[in-house]
Each structure stands twice: as structure tokens, then as C-alpha cells.
Subunit: 287 residues, 2 copies
DNA sequence: TTGCTCCTCACGTCACGTGAGGTGGC
DNA sequence: TTGCTCCTCACGTCACGTGAGGTGGC
């Protein structure tokens, strides 16, 4: 009943294992607690952790994935996969990172233009009266990634819903942003199609009256319609409203007056519009 | 004594300012506390915060910089600069980000190769006896960015320090990594030059005896010497030590046997070496 | 009076770093 | 006995999010 050990199943203390895995003691204790990497043995009396050499591979992989800033939860998922799927999953994660870096890269370029050209008026903002309209609408809570698909879907569904009914439209869709749409805020967004005639609202849609209002708007190109440049157009409209002594009312909207497919990068593509009170009269003097 | 206000110096509540600046209430309160963006006025009795319209520009710039994940402290620095210097500073920050993304990109490529080729032996590891050596050394605590300059400096200074003395060397430098060198760990690193003869240690250097030892080592090319590939070489040496039933002793080292400038990407450039006890005899059986 | 907006704590998030205070084995 | 290593809390970091519990103005 003698029992001896070979080189490979020698146990290491946490300190030795930390040096050889390039992980900190604190990290190892955390990974133990999270069941991401449990020690081979834990002494019942002293609570000392002991690791086996063959656990180094897992430990080092965790360390490398953490260098990519992959969250521990996602690392746990990766570790459950076989090698080829691990490569896929790491690739997926990395493409997400590259995507967000690409967005930021555009933002840096935008900031440079913006800071160098401060004071330039790059957008012509005007006002217009919009009469009361009957609209067929679809609302949804969407975040940034799902926004584009939702808009496409809604803008093809709404006109189709009117086909073969007594309703008719000669108008185009617009989208009202009732809440902020971003990576962590989900709107809601309401796509509206103005129409005339009396019908029942098809499933998933609503019919309502969009009241008459005054709005400030600017027309932008397809190229300007992409983040982060589009924020600049919103800011331009918003500043215009202030400078005119008007008050913003309700939520901003985008009016798509041509189809996405039929427009070149630098052609007018949509209006950024914000309802507002009429210009205040008799803005007074500060004494 | 009548006092009225024009459109532009109207005060906004925190809610209105939040919507128009695309910042959250919580963020605005934090920026107030950190003095990054103080409200124009705070009501003495209710503690209500009121903002002016001309504060929107600053608020939006903060928001855009946060989208780049620029830390608030750094944003505060940027805000103190004039527009051209702001562009420079944002550029500097962004180059740092792109740099760290580039490192991670290499790490992803490495992980793919590693996971696909698991089991391949890509490094030939052997052992050698190193006799006792008298060494002239310089130590320093350096982090990743300062490592390369320090190595270059030390490897040109040490041989120069021996010129014109009775000491002579026919050896090359090696670096001992007494601690981890990374973005947040600073070694220390000790660069050593073996020599013969008796001299006084020049200022900033030490003379000591590096004891005789056995070491496991592998030779890598200049291309393999760059992160993250170099970790793989360390791991190979470390695994070899385990599999031989040896015990690692002391700290790993890099032996630079040719000059950096004189070597092509795929030529042998240095050894990764780790002192270790001799192979254990009579590794026994598990019953 | 009812909503809505504002306020100030206080705690949670994420992946650890950094002590404090104490034990265990050579 | 002295060092060294290990242990478990507990608190700090960073930039907020998310209530709880309460007040203020229309």
C-alpha cells in the first residue's frame, strides 16, 4: 500500500503556482472562489491551496485572455469549449473589440474636425410648420445594434400594411426617438407613417394623431447620418433652438425622405428635426 | 431694478441639461463633485443644480471623450487646454489606445496558433552547466515601456566600464528578471556581464559572484523575442523543468549572445534560461 | 392632492491591489 | 526564535447604475 509521487503530480503551493502561471495570489484566490480554477487540493485544517502542474495550462490561458480584457464570465465559457471552438469564440470576442475600436476611431476623427473648426456653421437649420397628421406607428425598445434592422423592417412593413385598404399615403416614414438609443439605453423608437383614410390598426401597430407643431430641422447626407457625426447635427438643431429663444418640445425625429438604397453617400438623405415652441417674443434685457 | 432674462442665459434644471448633453443625472452629479463641470448655480436651500446653455459644449465634449474611455482625470487635463493642444492631447491618448490594441491583436494571433497547434513542440529545450562567474551588474526597477531602453543602455555601459581596467571579458550580457516586468509590475531587472580580473565596481554598478548552477534553456529568434510569443518560450522552458522532475531555482534570465542590430528577424538572437536543480532520480510510481 | 422632478445617502458592479491581523512549518 | 508563506477579512479603485427615503413646485 506504499504511495509515492512522480514529478508531474507534485503539488505546488499557491505562491509557486502564481509565479509559474504569472497570475497574482489575489487573482488565484478569486478564480478559486468563482470556480474558474480550483486548486487540486485544499488542506482541510490550514485552508492552504495546492495546485498540480497540469493546471498551469488552464491558468496561463486565463491570464492571456484577461490580457485581452475578456470578462471572467466569458473566459469561463471559453474554457468549456474544445480547442477549435475556443479559437472561434476568441475570434468573435476580438471582432467585437475591433468593432468598438473602429467606432472610437471615427469619433477621434470627428473630434479633430470639430475642435479645429469650432465656430463653423456646418448645418443650415430652419423651421417649418407641420400640420396635424394621422399616423400608423410601430414602437420598439431597441439598442444601438438592433436599431438599423428595426428601422429597415418597420419602413418596409408599414407601407405594406396599408396596401389593399382604403387608406392611402403619399408620405414617407419618420422615426421618433422617445429615449436615447445606445449600447446601454434602448429607446423606445417609434416609426411613423402618415396616411389618410379610416382603417383598423394591423396587429403590432397603432394609429394615433400626431399633433400639429413647429419644428427646427436640418437636412443631412447619408454620410453624415452615421455615428458620431450625426450627433453634431442633433447638437446643431438643439443650439439653433436655444439661440432662437425657442423651447424644445417632445422628442427628436429623423425624417427619411428617400430610400437608403437609392442614395449616394453625399446626397441629402434625411432630416433631423426637433419640435419646438415658436420663437419667444420680446426676449428682454438683463439689467 | 427690473430683471428679465434673454434666451441664452436661461437656467436649466439638471434633467433638462442631462437630456440635452446626453449625460446621465448621476454622471452630472459626479462631475459636479469632481469639479469637472459645476452647475452655473446651486440653490442654497434646495440644493437644486441649475446649468446654463453655454455649458452644453463642455458637457458634450466630456461625453464624447468618455466614449473613448478616457479617464475623467485625463479629461480634466484636456479641458484646460486650448483647442489645438486638445487635438494633440486626444491624439496622444488615442495612439496609446491603438498601441495597446496592437499588442492585443498580436496576442489573439498567438492564441490562435497556440490553440490550433497544442501538443506541437516548437521549442527545443536542453540543459547546461554554468560555472561560477564573477559578474558586473546594474539593477533597476523598470516597467514594460522602459525595459527596452534600459537593456540597451546597460548592455552598452557595462562593457565600456571595463575598458582601460585590468578586467577583461570575452562574454556577453544576460538579464535576470528578479520580478515580473509588465505595465504594472517593475521587476527589478539585473543586467550582468561576466568578467575576469580584480577591479572596483564603477558608480551605479555592483560586482558579485553568480554561483555555478544547472539551467534549462532554449534559443529563440529576434521575432520570437517579442511579446506575447516570448511567453511561450518561457512556458516551454518551465514545462520542460517539470517534466524532467527538476525544481526551478531563482529567477529566469535572457542571454543576449548577439547584438540586436546585427541580427535578422529569424536568426537566433538569445537564450531563455531558467536555473534548476538537477533531474530528480528515482521518480517513483503511483500505486 | 397627485405627479413629476429634484435631493442625498448607500450599496452594487468588475477584477483585482493592498494592507491588517493571525497562523503554520522549517 | 526568526523569516517566510499562507490564511481570511475588509477596504480601496473607477465611473457610474440603481434603488431608498424624502422634499419642492405646479
Amino acid at each position: 500500500m506504499s504511495q509515492t509521487t512522480t514529478g508531474t503530480d507534485q503539488l505546488m503551493t499557491i505562491g509557486a503556482f502564481a509565479r509559474r502561471s504569472r497570475l497574482s495570489l489575489k487573482a488565484l484566490r478569486l478564480y478559486d472562489e468563482l470556480e474558474l480554477l480550483r486548486p487540486a487540493t485544499v488542506d482541510e485544517w490550514t485552508s492552504y491551496r495546492y495546485y498540480r502542474e497540469d493546471q498551469l495550462e488552464r491558468a496561463r490561458l486565463i491570464g492571456l485572455l484577461r490580457r485581452l480584457d475578456m470578462p471572467l464570465e466569458r473566459i469561463a465559457q471559453v474554457l468549456e469549449l474544445g480547442a477549435p471552438e475556443q479559437v472561434d469564440e476568441i475570434g468573435r470576442f476580438w471582432r467585437e473589440v475591433e468593432g468598438s475600436v473602429a467606432v472610437k476611431r471615427r469619433l477621434v476623427a470627428y473630434l479633430e474636425r470639430y475642435l479645429e473648426g469650432r465656430g463653423d456653421t456646418m448645418y443650415e437649420v430652419r423651421t417649418r410648420q407641420v400640420p396635424e397628421q394621422q399616423v400608423l406607428t410601430v414602437s420598439r425598445n431597441v439598442r444601438q445594434p438592433e436599431l438599423q434592422p428595426f428601422l429597415m423592417e418597420a419602413m418596409s412593413d408599414l407601407p405594406r400594411a396599408l396596401e389593399g385598404t382604403r387608406a392611402k399615403t403619399d408620405s414617407h416614414c419618420f422615426a421618433i426617438y422617445h429615449g436615447v438609443v445606445s449600447a446601454d439605453s434602448d429607446g423606445p423608437v417609434e416609426v411613423c407613417l402618415p396616411f389618410e383614410g379610416q382603417i383598423e390598426a394591423p396587429a403590432g401597430t397603432r394609429i394615433r394623431i400626431e399633433p400639429a407643431h413647429n419644428e427646427a430641422f436640418t437636412t443631412i447626407t447619408l454620410a453624415q447620418c452615421v455615428f458620431p457625426g450625426i450627433l453634431e447635427a442633433y447638437d446643431a438643431v438643439s443650439s439653433f433652438i436655444d439661440r432662437q429663444g425657442m423651447e424644445p418640445i417632445g422628442s427628436p425625429r429623423e425624417v427619411y425622405f428617400v430610400e437608403h438604397e437609392k442614395v449616394a453617400e453625399n446626397d441629402p438623405f434625411c432630416d433631423i428635426a426637433w419640435p419646438a415652441s415658436p420663437a419667444r417674443k420680446g426676449a428682454a434685457v438683463t439689467v
